[in-house]
């Protein structure tokens, strides 16, 4: 079953561009969402989180003073974070592989490439509903399990163990990826 009623979910939309916020909000309302709160940057969003119980955060990358990546880290690992487990969808035009990896390593659940559509946004929300992931604390990393599929025959790199030592994000090429390529990359 992939048809979900979203009306009881609380969304927090974080984007410094008012037109993007309006677009995302309009799509969510058309999908039946009743509660959307907007924030203009990461600091504003963190303030909102203190009194607004967001179930899903949709967050832009490039914002100031606190950008999307710093906001994700603050939510995940900040000592005063109201909800370190809240699902976060990173919404951005930065779709180079190293950017996707950086977002994943900061602890985002899903990556949504701009320009967006109703279908692409709903697909990311659906993914969060259908595939709840355990959280991993390993070295510098705290966030949703980056291994989305169990593979008993896995013989590749042991990233969690490497993370304990380095804590750094993996590198990658600078080429732009399509939403399908991003999804394939994140889904292993």
């Amino acid at each position: 079953m992939s048809n979900y009623n979203l009306e009881r979910l609380n969304f927090l939309i974080v984007d410094d561009n008012k037109h993007m916020r309006a677009l995302v909000k309009s799509i969510l309302h058309a999908l039946g969402v009743k509660n959307c709160v907007e924030a203009t940057d990461g600091a504003d969003a963190f303030k909102e989180l203190r009194h607004y119980p967001a179930d899903v955060i949709i967050c832009d990358w490039s914002m100031s003073p606190l950008d999307g990546m710093d906001f994700v880290r603050l939510v995940r690992t900040g000592k005063d974070s109201p909800n370190p487990f809240v699902p976060i969808i990173m919404l951005t035009g930065h779709t180079e592989m190293n950017r996707v990896m950086e977002a994943r390593d900061a602890g985002v659940h899903e990556f949504l490439a701009k320009p967006i559509s109703a279908k692409s946004l709903y697909a990311r929300v659906r993914s969060i509903i259908e595939r709840p992931r355990p959280f991993i604390r390993a070295g510098m990393y705290f966030g949703p399990d980056r291994r989305r599929r169990e593979n008993p025959n896995y013989k590749g790199k042991e990233r969690r163990k490497e993370n304990l030592e380095s804590g750094g994000a993996e590198g990658g090429g600078a080429g732009e990826l399509s939403q399908d390529e991003v999804s394939a990359l994140l889904n292993g």
Partner: protein, 168 residues
């Protein structure tokens, strides 16, 4: 409450957070997002295309303003370059949602062109201006989708112009 247990080794913790969404989301029934609801949501975006044509004018004004400053400084103005990149990035991220795929393509091309360009020379400034002029033309003529033969001609022209200034 979440459940924390060491499932791998002492330093890697696997934590099962409460799945708050499961208790708030109902599958199926009235109000569920079915294909018809998705189509309606797409239609809402389509209906915003007129609004987009208004607000993109402001983006085009801002990018030209930054471009004028960059030109007047002979290309040596990092703040202006950053502003051009930021506006172009917004244009790239929005155009396609409203059917203006060419704005997304040209916006992306301009971002790629200037992201490593710290101090553009006169030729590079010309090429940046051509990209901005192309975006203005796309909006003026309301060229949606791929823009047909005219769109193809525009993109080919831009590619040719950009190839003259891109480092080999």
């Amino acid at each position: 409450m979440s459940e924390e247990n060491g499932q791998e080794d002492a330093q890697v913790r696997v934590i099962t957070p409460p799945h708050a969404l499961a208790s708030k989301v109902r599958a199926g029934g009235p109000g569920a997002v079915d294909p018809a609801a998705l189509e309606r949501a797409e239609q809402v975006i389509t209906n915003m295309a007129d609004d987009y044509l208004n607000w993109v004018q402001e983006d085009l004004r801002l990018i030209q303003e930054a471009m004028d400053e960059l030109k007047s400084s002979g290309g040596d103005n990092q703040v202006a370059i950053s502003r051009i990149f930021a506006v172009s990035h917004d244009i790239k991220g929005q155009g396609g949602s409203f059917g203006y795929d060419l704005m997304t393509i040209v916006g992306n091309d301009l971002c790629r062109l200037i992201e490593y360009s710290d101090n553009p020379d006169a030729s590079m400034l010309d090429v940046i201006q051509v990209h901005i002029d192309t975006m203005k033309l796309i909006i003026k003529n309301e060229m949606k989708g791929d823009g047909g033969p005219e769109g193809t001609r525009l993109l080919k022209g831009l590619e040719m112009v950009a190839s003259k200034v891109k480092p080999s």
